[in-house]
């Protein structure tokens, strides 16, 4: 008894923070590799980009000058920044609902165990997800080309258009074309998310409904959708965030053109930071400021996502 109370006392009080850390020194030892990686690849870049955003610096020269929040002040008057920011979210709004709805419809169809080729179809739909963006971009540029591109060929043959349409070259159409490519590439992953959600509907519910003579569409509307609806929040937010990270696709197809009409935030940041075309000079500090603002916007979305995930988990726990 005396020994036990002694141990309890020692554990509960009388130990300073340093003593407690020293007592758990082995645990901290094991944490070091993870913390190093986290620090080097996540924490440090965040701090660094905020620091760079307060500098007037090309990012290449030795010369840099601390200018406080002047970069931010300049951004607020930069029309290109506004347009890119708006375009990023427009792109998100154009892709996410499509991806979600098409993904869900495909998932419901492919969730049917009795559909013999379901796995084949799943694999086919998932194929674009695992294909490299650069490859898809090259193929799409060729496919959509107004000169001998097969898609224009098809449109002309079927008399849907009278002359070739430059889907990636027209400022009015380019963003929507890219949205289409994006949805095509990423619907597979949304499909997988939805399939996971559909796994939470027990087989007995379908069977009970079958015995009750409930029709398939009624089962989907009244049983399946209400049960998987909470997942929509999470899937939607994941898709939204991935729709904002669209740099590789656009850089590999249009580089933000023509006439900046497909320049989303990430392309804008890249262009201001590294000035890939002639006649510009790189402004890493300024680009960092844009990056910080965009990053904070995404972080706000992410926080929403975390809250939503927690809600869904809680709801699931209640449903058990």
């Amino acid at each position: 008894m005396a020994a036990i109370s002694h141990i309890l006392e020692r554990g509960a009080e009388g130990a300073t923070l340093g003593q407690r850390i020293w007592k758990s020194r082995i645990d901290y030892l094991f944490l070091i590799p993870g913390m190093l990686v986290f620090g080097a690849f996540i924490f440090w870049p965040m701090i660094a980009s905020f620091y760079y955003s307060t500098l007037d610096w090309t990012g290449f020269g030795a010369h840099s000058e601390f200018i406080g929040l002047a970069n931010y002040a300049e951004l607020l008057n930069d029309e290109f920044f506004y347009s890119a920011f708006k375009r990023s979210f427009l792109f998100m709004l154009a892709t996410v609902p499509f991806q979600m709805i098409v993904g869900l419809m495909l998932a419901i169809v492919l969730n049917n165990k009795f559909l013999k080729l379901a796995t084949v179809f799943r694999a086919m739909i998932f194929l674009p997800v695992v294909s490299p963006v650069a490859v898809i971009a090259i193929v799409m540029v060729l496919m959509l080309s107004p000169f001998n591109g097969p898609i224009n060929g098809f449109l002309i043959e079927t008399h849907l258009v009278s002359r070739a349409v430059d889907l990636l070259g027209s400022p009015q159409m380019v963003l929507w074309t890219l949205a289409g490519i994006f949805v095509w590439k990423w619907t597979g992953i949304t499909l997988v998310y939805w399939l996971a959600a559909l796994q939470t509907v027990p087989d007995e519910l379908y069977e009970a409904a079958k015995l009750d003579g409930v029709k398939t569409w009624q089962v989907i509307m009244h049983i399946v959708l209400p049960i998987v609806a909470p997942f929509a929040v999470v899937i939607g937010l994941i898709s939204a965030i991935s729709a904002l990270n669209v740099f590789p696709l656009i850089q590999a197809t249009t580089q933000g053109g023509p006439f900046f009409s497909s320049e989303v935030m990430e392309v804008y940041i890249f262009r201001t930071a590294f000035a890939p075309s002639s006649g510009q000079f790189p402004r890493l500090g300024y680009a960092s400021a844009a990056g910080v603002i965009f990053g904070l916007s995404i972080m706000a979305l992410t926080i929403l996502q975390v809250i939503a995930v927690r809600r869904v988990r809680r709801k699931e726990a209640e449903n058990v």
């Binding site: 409904a209 003579g213 409930v214």
Partner: protein, 360 residues
């Protein structure tokens, strides 16, 4: 209301045959229990009646309709699932009325039916709750209510008590028995692996093993007069004692005097715990040393080890002064069953007089 008739019903998944030709007649209004160890095909058979599994061969008829190719909803059956299968996002009331509402039955009519079923099951106060707010027993009632609302010819229960705790299981079992009385003429088919449930609920028990019917009969028929060693061992608690018999002798060489034309074929002797009685020193057929005494209050189960090392059990009246390591003698006073080498019962064999008395 109508009965169910299964004629040479078979089911195979590819090359694996899980139901190997089953014939069962369930009369109208009967409470029929399919019982057997896990994997015997009892649930599959029930699901075949419901229409959730296809029938590979044979016929299933409900009433005078052949239902083999009929949609599950057209068969006039309602099923209660082991996991309840309640729609988690709907209230109890909507859960019960959902099927009817989806089939275009008027709201007022559905409400009347739901209220009536809720009254029978005494769940009127739960109608606005969601399944997650209910206990296991309440959920099971709602599931039964959903079946009642449909006013089916045949109720199908798939291990409905398995997810309940022991106490609730006994109480719910009683309620299902009452319900069968209340719903006059309702045919009920009930699947369980628990022979106590089968014995207490059934008008007729179907014992299944490996996709075949071992025996069909009233509970006491199966208990008193099993067709084979499997049924004898499966029905009744504690399990029937089986002793190997070789050339009219017990394993320890004590003689057994048997009468009947097939007495030469006897390979196993079966005796229930309550058919073993304590005999005086040297006066019993079977001897043994007590290993465990289970005192249940109304009876005592005395487990003992025979000279040839087998554990058997005898049922003693309460207050029997028996202690562990006592050496006891047992007489075969009650009904004794004899089985041949294939496990089939030999009905014309009987004990002839008291062999031990002759020996002494």
């Amino acid at each position: 209301m109508s009965g169910v008739k299964l004629t040479n019903v078979k089911k195979s998944y590819g090359a694996v045959e899980v139901i190997r030709g089953v014939d069962i007649v369930i009369e109208e209004g009967e409470f029929c229990v399919f019982v057997g160890p896990s994997g015997c095909g009892k649930s599959t058979l029930l699901r075949m009646i419901a229409g959730l599994e296809e029938i590979s061969a044979g016929t299933i008829a409900i009433g005078d309709r052949r239902v083999n190719d009929l949609d599950p909803s057209q068969r006039g059956t309602a099923m209660v699932f082991q996991t309840y299968a309640l729609y988690p996002h709907m209230t109890v009331e909507r859960n019960m009325g959902f099927g009817l509402l989806m089939n275009g039955v008027a709201k007022s009519e559905v409400k009347a039916k739901v209220d009536k079923a809720a009254k029978i099951l005494q769940i009127e106060t739960l109608l606005n709750r969601k399944p997650r707010q209910l206990s296991g027993g309440q959920r099971q009632r709602v599931a039964i209510g959903r079946a009642i609302v449909r006013d089916p010819d045949v109720f199908l229960f798939d291990e409905p008590l398995s997810n309940l705790d022991a106490e609730l299981r006994v109480a719910t079992r009683l309620e299902i028995a009452k319900l069968h009385g209340q719903l006059q003429g309702a045919t009920m088919v009930y699947v369980t692996h628990d022979q106590v449930e089968a014995m207490t609920l059934a008008d007729k028990i179907v014992v299944l093993r490996d996709g075949r019917v071992e025996q069909i009969g009233a509970p006491m028929e199966l208990y008193e007069d099993p067709d084979n060693i499997f049924v004898a061992g499966f029905i009744g608690s504690p399990k029937m004692n089986f002793v190997e018999v070789k050339g009219d002798k017990l394993p320890d060489g004590r003689p057994l005097r048997l009468s009947g034309s097939q007495s030469n074929a006897v390979a196993t002797l079966g005796v229930r715990a309550d058919a073993l009685e304590r005999a005086g020193p040297g006066a019993g057929t079977i001897a043994g040393e007590v290993s465990v005494v289970e005192r249940l209050g109304d009876a005592e189960f005395v487990h003992f080890r025979t000279p040839w090392g087998q554990e058997l059990v005898a049922r003693f009246p309460p207050g029997a002064a028996v202690r562990v390591r006592d050496s006891l003698q047992f007489a075969l006073t009650g009904k004794v069953h004899f089985f041949d080498a294939e496990g089939r019962v030999l009905r014309d064999v009987a004990m002839a007089g008291n062999p031990v008395a002759a020996e002494a």
